[in-house]
């Protein structure tokens, strides 16, 4: 490796969060990233910025000041109504050039995963994907940890020579701060020249996806795997789910067998969930499944095989036959609820 020039890091200050939204409706991953940005910024005495690009967004921008942002940079232009890569990238570039943030955190949504790499290439800097741990060194370098190889290994990555440092983070990985009653900070309105607002993309139609009760937002989940032997046994699972006000989800084999809708698959090729409580029934705990649920607050796992790898990530491992444990558990919980 030849000698490489390093930027003057003291010229790059602040931790920025890209505000993910559709039509001004802010995606909750934004609040989670603001929580993380606040924690990192406080360690190196940096401000926290939010970068809000859209149309008629200035009013909702103030809301971000309740969640840890010190400054909200707002690019508010009718040409930014729908997400189109060139104008959004132009606004993003303008912010980076003017403000020179040290780090930028972006939600790993469709928009975030499109914009962040564009910015990384434009500024010839590093972008670390799907970080699960973010820390900061005194010299303002981020320590970024991310899974790769489908969750089979973790990599610790840094971007030591260039700025800004970019990282994407999936929804439900970081924790939002509770909303502060008082807003502190300011909203700064910015503009880019109209000639930069042109695009070779036209948005023809935006249609809502079929209304689904997304398992990603569930507080409680009962997850089922191949330990459940027949479709009729799902009745018992539903009874438990009803008692706990839980959503039912499961592993890929159950989705493939048609017992569960695809949208209820947890894991690498399914959804990521982070409920308060997840009870897994007859799930072995493959890395692909675990990748989608291991940051749940409380994991209870029922499996008859003591060696099942689900027990490596469970907080409470219940070694037993689900066909014996489940009816008892339903009976118990009914008793508790009546008590």
């Amino acid at each position: 490796e030849e000698e490489r020039a390093t930027v003057d890091k003291s010229q790059w200050k602040g931790i920025c969060v890209y505000v993910d939204h559709v039509d001004g409706e802010i995606h909750p991953v934004t609040m989670e990233l603001l929580g993380k940005a606040r924690e990192l910024a406080d360690q190196v005495n940096f401000p926290v910025h939010a970068l809000f690009i859209g149309s008629q967004v200035t009013d909702s921008a103030a809301e971000l000041l309740h969640y840890g942002a010190d400054k909200v940079y707002c690019y508010d232009d009718p040409a930014l109504k729908d997400f189109r890569i060139e104008p959004y990238a132009a606004a993003f570039e303008d912010y980076i050039r003017k403000v020179q943030p040290s780090s930028i955190l972006v939600g790993a949504t469709t928009v975030g995963r499109s914009l962040a790499p564009r910015m990384a290439a434009r500024f010839r800097t590093g972008l670390t994907a799907d970080c699960t741990v973010l820390e900061i060194k005194e010299n303002t370098d981020l320590v970024q940890i991310r899974p790769a190889f489908g969750g089979n290994i973790m990599a610790q990555i840094k971007t030591p020579h260039t700025r800004p440092q970019l990282a994407t983070v999936r929804y439900k990985v970081m924790n939002a701060l509770p909303r502060k009653a008082e807003a502190s900070g300011e909203v700064i309105v910015c503009t880019v020249p109209q000639e930069k607002m042109v695009s070779r993309i036209k948005v023809l139609e935006v249609r809502p996806k079929e209304k689904e009760t997304s398992i990603s937002d569930a507080e409680t989940i009962i997850a089922v795997g191949r330990g459940v032997k027949g479709e009729k046994d799902m009745a018992m699972v539903e009874e438990l789910a009803d008692l706990l006000g839980a959503q039912i989800a499961g592993t890929r084999p159950l989705v493939e067998s048609g017992w569960l809708d695809t949208r209820r698959q947890i894991g690498l090729s399914g959804r990521t969930v982070k409920p308060k409580l997840i009870i897994t029934l007859g799930i072995s705990g493959s890395v692909q499944f675990a990748a989608g649920m291991k940051s749940s607050d409380y994991i209870f796992a029922v499996n008859c095989d003591e060696k099942a790898s689900i027990f490596d990530i469970a907080h409470y491992g219940i070694v037993g036959d689900l066909y014996e444990v489940l009816p008892e558990l339903i009976r118990r919980i009914k008793m508790e609820k009546e008590a």
Binding site: T109, N152, A155, I157, R200, L277, H315, I318, K337
Partner: protein, 262 residues
């Protein structure tokens, strides 16, 4: 219609081991295959060619043995292919990889459409497509679910968003990253295997590129550094419950109440 598909060779399984002493991935003796998500990009290219005519070229960057994925693409129906390979490109992160690929694309000619998979199964970043598009200064659309219409000068597509599906029209030239299941990929054919076995695969090296700045390629051109790799942590604070179903159920419900989960 001139279509280019970017494909990558990845380990046959993503169950990799880390050498406990050196902290290096054990890649020796691991079989390789085409990144499964790239099969969907290839199939999309073939369907578009069926509809509009033209040529499908495949491009991969990797060590010399990555030629195998070009051959596999030939067996499925690709018309032409090139391998980007040079010691100078080793150790590239996404930025250096994308820059190298964009230099190769410029060298190969001009394309109306460039297709990428959604992500790979090894590095798994889903960043290469958009970065290549940036370096080529063309628009891109990520997470394409469906091709709605092929027009003379544009494509109409459905793009997957967290809560919505957006239908967009994008002018050529452009780059798309396609979702898995956009089309069912075809299998390589034996007849094509015989037909294509003698086809040459071009190799592009550093010397072929317009930009001769070595600091933009390989490890030198990579702003990210992998400091260490390690297996995912196992949870040490677990509590195991054993016994008769009745006791287990009682213990679990008590815990749920205690944790304010019921």
């Amino acid at each position: 219609m001139n279509i280019l598909v970017c494909i990558k060779q990845v380990p046959g399984s993503n169950k990799v081991d880390v050498d406990a002493k050196t902290g290096v991935l054990k890649r020796d003796g691991v079989e390789s295959k085409m990144n499964p998500y790239d099969l969907f990009a290839l199939e999309t290219a073939f369907r578009i060619r069926e509809n509009r005519g033209g040529k499908v070229t495949v491009l991969t960057m990797g060590p010399p043995q990555a030629e195998a994925v070009i051959r596999e693409a030939f067996m499925m129906g690709a018309d032409d292919g090139a391998l980007i390979s040079d010691r100078k490109f080793g150790g590239a992160d996404v930025l250096a990889t994308s820059y190298t690929i964009s230099q190769a694309i410029r060298k190969l000619g001009s394309f109306d459409l460039i297709l990428c998979g959604k992500q790979t199964t090894d590095g798994d970043t889903a960043q290469v497509g958009p970065e290549v598009a940036e370096y080529l200064d063309i628009p891109h659309v990520a997470n394409v679910l469906r091709i709605v219409e092929l027009k003379e000068d544009a494509l109409i597509l459905d793009m997957d968003m967290p809560h919505t599906v957006e239908m967009v029209e994008v002018l050529y030239p452009c780059l798309l990253t396609v979702e898995k299941d956009i089309f069912m990929p075809r299998l390589p054919s034996y007849r094509r295997k015989l037909e294509t076995s003698a086809w040459p695969v071009k190799t592009l090296t550093f010397a072929d590129f317009e930009d001769q700045d070595v600091m933009k390629y390989g490890l030198n051109g990579s702003p990210t550094q992998v400091e260490r790799i390690f297996p995912p942590a196992v949870n040490a604070q677990r509590e195991m419950l054993r016994g008769e179903a009745e006791e287990l159920a009682a213990e679990v419900s008590t815990k749920l109440v205690h944790l304010k989960l019921i």
